[in-house]
Amino acid sequence: MTTRERLAAVQEWVEVRVGISQLIEMGREKKVPLHRHSFWYYMGGMTLFLFGIQVGTGILLLLYYRPSSGEAFESVQFLMTRVPFGWLIRSIHSWSANLLVFVLFLHMFSAFFLKAFRKPRELTWLTGAVLLALMMGFGFSGYLLPWNTLAFFATQVGTEVAGRVPVVGEFALRLLRGGDQVTGATLTRFYGIHVAILPALTTVILGAHLLFVQKHGMSVPPQVEADAERAGKPLGSYPFLPNFLLRDAIGWCAALGVLAGLAALFPWELGEKADPFASAPAGIRPEWYFGWMFQTLKMLPPHILGFEGEVLGILAITLGFIIWFAVPFLDRTPRPGNRVTRAFAVGGWLALLYMAVATAMVYWPQ
């Protein structure tokens, strides 16, 4: 039997059991709409690709990381200085986490502005919004793991904010910290959240999200649909496999190049080991994607109409998130000219503008 014949036999064996050709055929039949906003369809695949990088590099980091206050910093230091390519893996993990959240924001806002949440894709939107929250949870929990000074004090501030939430705040604070203060117990807890709880939840929610995307296909913006109807021409499309996947792959390769450049030229700093007894360093700030919330709470006066300003700020941000989750149920029939739709579009742009300005203010030199 020749090598070619052997390979064909293996392929046949797998085909009978897995049915790969059926999957390929399904991919060929799946159509991706082609119009002036098609570019935004790549954001979902890009997010998935970066998440895959996070999983891969995260697993490699796990091989060396030790989740205790006495060993965490040293284990990351060892990884970065003594383990071959350890610095690269950690830097890619950190940079990719930031790119992932950035692309996720693009994906979510593009879905919002192109009205991709409308019937029957409400659950796609909801699972996507939950995934955004989970990714931010990954960021928050992962930030503490190197146990450096900046992360320690940023976590202290971040958990304090959680503790200010009315009614459940104190419970949330103790639940997050594993006690009254940020200690080694918090680190171990964050580690568990980062590598077990969040990945488990993400697997389920991401599976559901992809299932809904597969079931309903790509959403076409109402304006594009209306234009096509008016012109009397059906919308163009191309197959998911291979056209869209190959284009997706071009973006992934470009992202990989960007990540390689960032990791090699700007490796993620480790900083100084956290000292719980030291005074907080100047310029503590959270990861950039929490920046707008941090800045909002910072700008609020201590008291507003007799209520604590910070508490009101937290309630307002919580309300904003609730509205964001409920968008498909509030803007139920989005179409050009609809007043509610227009109000949501304006609100979305204002929210985006506010988030951008508030985030910039965090980094603006004082």
Binding site: Q77, Y238, L246, I250, C253, A254, G257, A264, L265, L270
Partner: protein, 429 residues
């Protein structure tokens, strides 16, 4: 006389418990006593007689004492009908004390441990006995009214707690307070003293620590000379004065006393021979050696054996210092370029510790010990430099790896673009 009615009740100058109690110690403080006829009358007067009423935030006032607690008299009498009624000698009224009397006047309270305890259980009451050991106190006892008494340093009225930055004896004010007399050429000429101490002190590393860094633990006049016992250092050696802060240098120096020929310097000039007394400048490695900034060559000429030692020691410590600076710079640049070098800084810190140790060991005048510290420091510096070179080599490898990766990625992207075009061209065809 009346112009100084409210003069001289003092806080900080004191007396021992054995002080003659020629006047009654004031009764326990009572804040209500502040409203007295003394203030009411003196507020209506002009010139120096008005002066005491301007200092109602005096620490004694704050603690509930009033004019009559120091000056006697009857604060319930007086007023427009008979202003002199308050100055009732039967109620202990006294004219203001003369400068010679001031120390005892203050010590009536400040030397009374039982009384002072009612304000602060830890307060000192030995100021007068200390004062009597000082040049100021000894001259005062001999009838020299020009030497400093309590009020010259602490003020007359408006006396503030030492910790109060407005106090004339706060660390930031002491040099100026002493300089009021010690920079007065006319006054100092009587005692044959120079007047450049304060000016010289203000150029010193100690003064910079106080005035520029706000470090109140840095020494000012009284930390070396004593406060109430102010005198030129009267201890066995100057090394003990400097050694009270610079303890390791002091103990190393004292170890050599009597053991090293040529080191039996006069007790008054030991540390100051190299470091000066008031104008103590930040020591540099150039002070050791035979260069233009060397202090060794002030005493040792080329014919001395010590000259050769100084030359070798100077070269060694300056070499170590330069090598460590080079290693530090290299690690800094590597860190800025993104290489993790925290662990490698241990070697650098060890080298810096050896440098500090060598600088301190200069005071032992033991070339062998000194060279051993320098040698160990050099070893650490070389380790840090090797780490720096390794970091730069790593950096070069990373950039090379990045270049290769980007070329591969670009090639894959190019291939994918071509493939997409091919597929879509076929479809369109």
């Amino acid at each position: 006389m009346r112009t100084w009615l409210f003069v001289t009740f003092l806080a900080m100058a004191g007396a021992s418990g054995s002080v003659a109690q020629d006047a009654k110690t004031p009764a326990a403080p009572n804040a209500a006593k502040q409203e007295s006829s003394c203030i009411l009358c003196h507020k209506q007067l002009d010139g120096p007689a008005l002066e005491p009423t301007k200092h109602l935030d005096d620490i004694h006032m704050q603690r509930g004492l009033s004019c009559h607690d120091c000056h006697g008299g009857d604060p319930t009498k007086g007023g427009d009908e008979d202003p002199s009624a308050a100055h009732d000698e039967r109620k202990g009224w006294k004219e203001k004390p003369t400068r010679l009397q001031v120390p005892l006047f203050c010590a009536r309270c400040h030397g009374d441990a039982a009384y002072m305890k009612t304000f602060n259980p830890q307060i000192r009451v030995d100021q007068l006995s200390e004062y009597r050991t000082s040049v100021h106190g000894q001259r005062n006892a001999k009838g020299d009214s020009r030497t400093a008494v309590c009020i010259d340093c602490h003020g007359v009225h408006g006396i503030r707690a030492i910790k109060d930055p407005r106090s004339k004896v706060h660390p930031t004010q002491v040099a100026d307070t002493c300089a009021r007399c010690h920079s007065d050429p006319e006054l100092m000429a009587r005692y044959g003293l120079e007047t450049n101490q304060a000016t010289a002190y203000k150029t010193s590393v100690h003064a910079r620590a106080i005035y520029e860094k706000g470090d109140l633990s840095a020494p000012t006049c009284n930390d070396c000379h004593g406060s109430h016992g102010a005198a030129p250092p009267g201890v066995a050696t100057v090394a003990q004065v400097c050694g009270s802060c610079h303890s390791r240098e002091g103990s190393l120096y004292r170890e050599t006393e009597g053991k090293k020929p040529g080191l039996n310097l006069s007790p008054a000039i030991q540390c100051v021979t190299c470091h000066d007394n008031h104008a103590v400048h930040r020591p540099t490695d150039e002070m050791l050696g035979i260069g233009s900034k060397s202090v060794c060559t002030n005493c040792h000429g080329p014919e001395d054996k010590q000259f050769k030692s100084a030359e070798g020691m100077g070269r060694a410590i300056q070499g170590l210092s330069a090598r460590l600076a080079e290693a530090n710079d290299m690690l800094d640049r590597a860190e800025r370029a993104g290489v993790e070098i925290n662990a490698d800084r241990f070697a650098l810190r060890a080298g810096q510790n050896h440098l500090v140790e060598a600088r301190v060991l200069v005071h032992a005048f033991d070339e062998e010990r000194f060279m051993a510290a320098v040698h160990e420091g050099m070893g650490s510096a070389e380790t840090a430099l090797t780490a720096g070179e390794r970091a730069f080599s790593e950096l070069r490898r990373r950039r090379m790896g990045l270049t290769v990766s980007l070329v591969v990625i670009a090639a894959v992207i190019g291939g994918l673009v071509l493939k997409v075009r091919e597929i879509e061209r076929d479809k369109n065809a």
